[in-house]
Symmetry: C5
Subunit: 268 residues, 5 copies
């Protein structure tokens, strides 16, 4: 697990920016309105309760954790590990890797290698790993889907709040000098909806989507590696094959890590 | 069948929220306008009558029932059942499972096993089950499609109502002091359209879509299981293969069930 | 051919509803404006003339007829027929069905069976029928595409008309008391565009889309049936295979037909 | 090549309609504003220059010619030709068709037959023709893509122009009586953007898309024909197979041609 | 690498056009507002920081370079090169091309040929090159995705800025004569958002998308070429096969190059 504070930085910076923009133009308190926040945030959450089964929504908090702690998808390390296991299995026999499996921490790789050691035939292994891949993708795409929907419902409920405010104000217009402040209050829900959607929900949805795609890539590589190991492919060929999942830069490895360290320093 | 009151809770809470929001700003009665509701709700329903054949629309109420009563897609139970049948069929012969078929309640599983017992060849079984899967998916996606369209037509008819109100008001503007209340009335249809779409139709559409996807997953697992049983695969391999449809947590089983009980209590 | 008056009912009811809504708020005549209708309806039709070749547009009226007369896609009857032919061909030889082909009325089925009787090999038959299926789908999806585009252009031309009205009014604003009626006139084209799109064009497009999907399903079943017959499959297996295209309810048959009669009575 | 003046008619009629609509409401000259046209048309063209490489944009004028001159995709004629060649090749040997190839004018057909005469093996021919098909589709879809983008940028630049006009007017509001004419001028760019997109760019994009789809259909038929000829299929089977690309009506042929002549007369 | 100044020209011309349009209507300085620019540009960038992992965003500047320096995807030159190598490998043996590989500069071609020289079997080569192709496409589509998202967030943050301005102005409306200038200021963020999206972010996104598609085409051709060379295909057949990736015009070659020179002159 790697701490990833960039999304937090983005969120805090975006919120501060909006606060600053408000305080330049007006007074923060005139933008704080609990009923407006409730109709936008809770109203759109009610729509989510209807849209997704409880079983699905329940998984969201766990998926959200990925926003802050990216699984260290150290592809290069994984490739080295698999190649090493393939080498050992070739020289000392497939059973020799049994003890090493326990030290691994990727569940797909563990399951795959266990089946190899158990002597499961290759078609069954491929079939099972591919189903697991599909199911994992389905489960992980839930976080993306839920936040995408929330990002659609929030502005809609913002508009519903604004319509309520407008209709109320226009229907009871004794003092025309109050139109301005009535409109201002009515527009606050639209502001909340737009703000929640574009700074919170939609970016989180995209982040989870990108992460799921990255995990899928790592998992496809693992499946390829387990199958090659089961076939008893030449370790050098396995390494070459799995390395095609890396970019030119990642293949060289070192600069990449240094880049990351610099980047982490910058984002601290 | 499992009672699922979450969507109902979401809908009721959302409606109460909007009522509360109205009564804070204004008076509920000024938001109740039968003609406005009729043009938004009935108008968009007329568009649905044109869009879908009667045969299709007729099936919607039955599909809607799924919103409240989720079929208990107890994947783990299904897997145990299929594995047990595979074991029996291996030791006592395929005909021994004939009597057990009647006790099952999943129609796809029943049909598949009947064909296995009848000695239908595997390609025909696979072909037939896959066609049934496709047809089932087509039929079940109807609910999703109809509500999605309703969720598109409702705001459109809300806007048509608002345009009618605006044109009527603007075209006969003798007393400018009435502009406000005229606009308020005109905007009510937009409010109804937005409310119906975002709290009722679109969330229902998404709910039915998610449920259809879940059923499809269960059905794919059943097809895989029936075919493995027909081929006479090793029951342990069958169990392993079908278990790849479960998440890590579901495989452990217990905590999941407890979670569900807690969840049901919370939603009571 | 089965008369299907539901779309007509939907359209008439929707139009009456809008008329009623207008007459409650205002006077019908103030919503009738020939130039506004022309720019919305004819303008969007001009855009259609550019968008589609004449060959394509020419086919639309014929496809539109399907809106009122649904081809009686009596899947159950078709299945019975094909099974019966398979039985005859098995007992009396393939040539015995030649005379029965003339009595059929589904062109795809006729063509397929003719090729079977002619002794065309199965790969060629499959190839030809699949090409015909694809071409049929392409041709039938034209109606859907044309009305979908019309449903996009109509509101766009409605907005163009409103912009013209607004610019004309605002550019020559000698008497401010005329702003209201100017705006009212300007908005009429937006109203027409929204009305034509959401009550006429888009619902028709969806209807044709659903019908094409249903035909495709029937045609896929026919191809499956013809190929099974050519292979000389067991008639019982053919029936079983084709029946997987039916829902549980359709398989029982009777209730379905009664349902339909009730439905037809309701819609008379 | 067949002259196709329908798109021109649609465009001219649409423009006249809009002119008429303007002159009914106002004075044409108040809608003519060179700076507004420049920001909408040239501004959106600048966005195109960034969006597509010059190599791509350069091909657009040639593709645009297709709007007025539809390649005579006389499928029936092509089928007759291919069948005839297949017959000749069967009776007189494959080399006998060499002299006839020069008289053809479809480049894909020519290339395919040349390879057949050269004795290229069938897999290579299929591979090459399929790559050519894909590349042709890619190249021809460029026209569609460029005009689709232009149809998206034009209204966006129309709105940018309107925003500039509005901000300028509102920021310097000494004489409130000028608001009207200021708004009118500001809205003209929105009008231009909407007009260019919906009467010119988007319909042209759709037209090119439909034509590319039609060409693709003809080319798929040619590939099928060349391969059948190479395999030495029975000419009667070839004719039957290729005819499945035609509709029922096209198969009868004559009425279709007469229809076209009538249509051409109508559109003259 | 080929300098490609067209996007720069488009961007500069578009910006000048907007400047000109502003100075015709008003005064440039009244459109310059640092806080408005910050909330639109930095706010939408904060949303990007949440949406994409740092690893992804980090690659954007490098991908952006492609906007100005198009890799010289001289397909015709590549084809000639591969054909020549195939000829040499046929006459002098596969090892003879080893020395020539170093002179190439396409990494995919180099890697492919190295594997051929190493005697890697054809299935492994195909597998590895296809994975590399997929990974390359994934990596290169990042630039497109990031700018597409930025083009969505920028107008959203423009609208958030406008809402803040409007609410602030309407909530504190002591001097009605200031409404105009308040609105003007509020609208500036909408203007910035629209301008940044439609002249900068979305066109760049499209440009990167088109370039990735072109590279993919070149890379597919290279894979096809390497595999043909490994199989020891006839060099004439290889040339013919690879040439199907070219358009008619590109096959003739010369005019194309001259065209490009003229084009480059024009865009200088």
């Amino acid at each position: 697990m790697k701490r990833n504070i960039l999304p937090l930085i983005g969120m805090v910076a975006g919120i501060l920016l909006i606060f600053a923009s408000i305080s330049v133009n007006s007074n923060i308190m005139s933008f704080v309105d609990a009923p407006s926040l409730i109709i936008t945030l809770v109203g759109s959450f009610c729509a989510l309760l209807i849209s997704f089964p409880f079983n699905t929504l329940k998984k969201v908090p766990a998926l959200l954790k990925k926003l802050m702690f990216t699984p260290e998808d150290d592809l290069k390390g994984l490739i080295d590990r698999i190649t090493e296991l393939a080498r050992k299995s070739r020289t000392e026999g497939i059973l020799s890797i049994e003890s090493e499996i326990e030290e691994l921490n990727n569940p797909l790789l563990i399951h795959g290698l266990e089946m190899v050691v158990d002597g499961t035939d290759i078609d069954t292994i491929e079939n099972i790993l591919n189903i697991e891949l599909d199911q994992m993708e389905d489960r992980h795409s839930i976080g993306h889907e839920v936040f995408l929907k929330w990002g659609e419902y929030a502005p809609a409920f913002g508009m519903i709040g604004t319509l309520i405010g407008l209709i109320a104000m226009l229907g009871d217009l004794q003092d025309p000098s109050l139109i301005g402040s009535g409109m201002a209050t009515a527009l606050i829900t639209t502001f909340y909806g737009s703000f929640l959607a574009n700074l919170i929900f939609l970016p989180i949805a995209k982040n989870l989507e990108v992460q799921t795609a990255n995990e899928l890539k790592a998992n496809e590589m693992i499946v390829e590696g387990v199958l090659a190991l089961q076939r008893g492919d030449n370790p050098r060929v396995i390494e070459q094959k799995l390395s095609s999942y890396l970019s030119q830069k990642e293949k060289q490895g070192k600069d990449e890590k240094e880049d990351l360290e610099v980047a982490e320093e910058l984002t601290r």
